[in-house]
Symmetry: C2
Subunit: 120 residues, 2 copies
DNA sequence: CAAAGTACATTGCTATACAATGTATTTTCT
DNA sequence: AGAAAATACATTGTATAGCAATGTACTTTG
């Protein structure tokens, strides 16, 4: 009885950890794809991603990603003052960002296709 | 001119790093799926994955993964002596491994579906 | 007026990929 | 026959990314 409970626990933490690891790569990919069509500010991106996927994105995850993307010149940002409340930092794809994303989309497609075959 | 070359360089290293990050999660997932149908030994798994995907798997990546999977009771291993040459360590899915993989497959499916919609 | 929500940000921890390195045997090429 | 490449295992150190925790500051809701 205890053994069964233990196994289930192990199983769940493994899957939870796996989902977290799976974000390394897919999350950046998702963010760039979301930014492809519109400008978004950080907090809004979290809501947007939560709405469209099963992924929960911590703020301590998102903001560093956006900083990296800006450092690598894939996105640009601009502060937009609000009539009331805290100003928002809007992010948009750069030319380099769009080209890079196209490359990433191609790789993602083949990856999904290959894995599909392996899963059968 | 130099600027263009610089941009291209940045772009390629970003994508290369992204592909590496993308493996965190997908690689374990691929390995478990490959082991679903047959037993394989480590070196063979690398060949198998290279054959079916665009992924290059370093030995220093694979063996730690297999150790982790065994530690978590998702796979089991047995040494098989060869008539000639170095003995092989064959890995196979356990019951827990199969159940966990089923859960992972379900999550992967929804993830791919959700991302598909975002990419449009 | 307190709690929750909005919106930004950083720090420290953990897990993973991978280059580099090592051992040992067998096969292939010259 | 000897060198190089391939087979087959393994470990160590480094870099990266997700994330809980924590912090600031303003606004809305109960």
């Amino acid at each position: 009885m205890y053994f069964v409970l233990y196994i289930c626990f192990m199983n769940e933490t493994f899957v939870a950890n796996w989902k977290s690891q799976l974000k390394k790569g897919t999350l950046t990919f998702v963010i760039l794809n979301v930014l492809k069509d519109n400008e978004y500010y950080g907090y809004e991106l979290i809501e947007e991603i939560k709405k469209h996927t099963d992924m929960e994105v911590a703020e301590g995850t998102l903001y560093p990603i956006l900083n990296r993307l800006k450092m690598d010149n894939l996105v640009d940002s601009k502060w937009v003052e609000q009539g009331t409340g805290i100003p928002r930092k809007y992010y948009s794809l750069t030319e380099v960002g769009m080209k890079t994303l196209a490359e990433m989309n191609a790789y993602w497609k083949t990856l999904v296709f290959d894995i599909e075959k392996i899963i059968k």
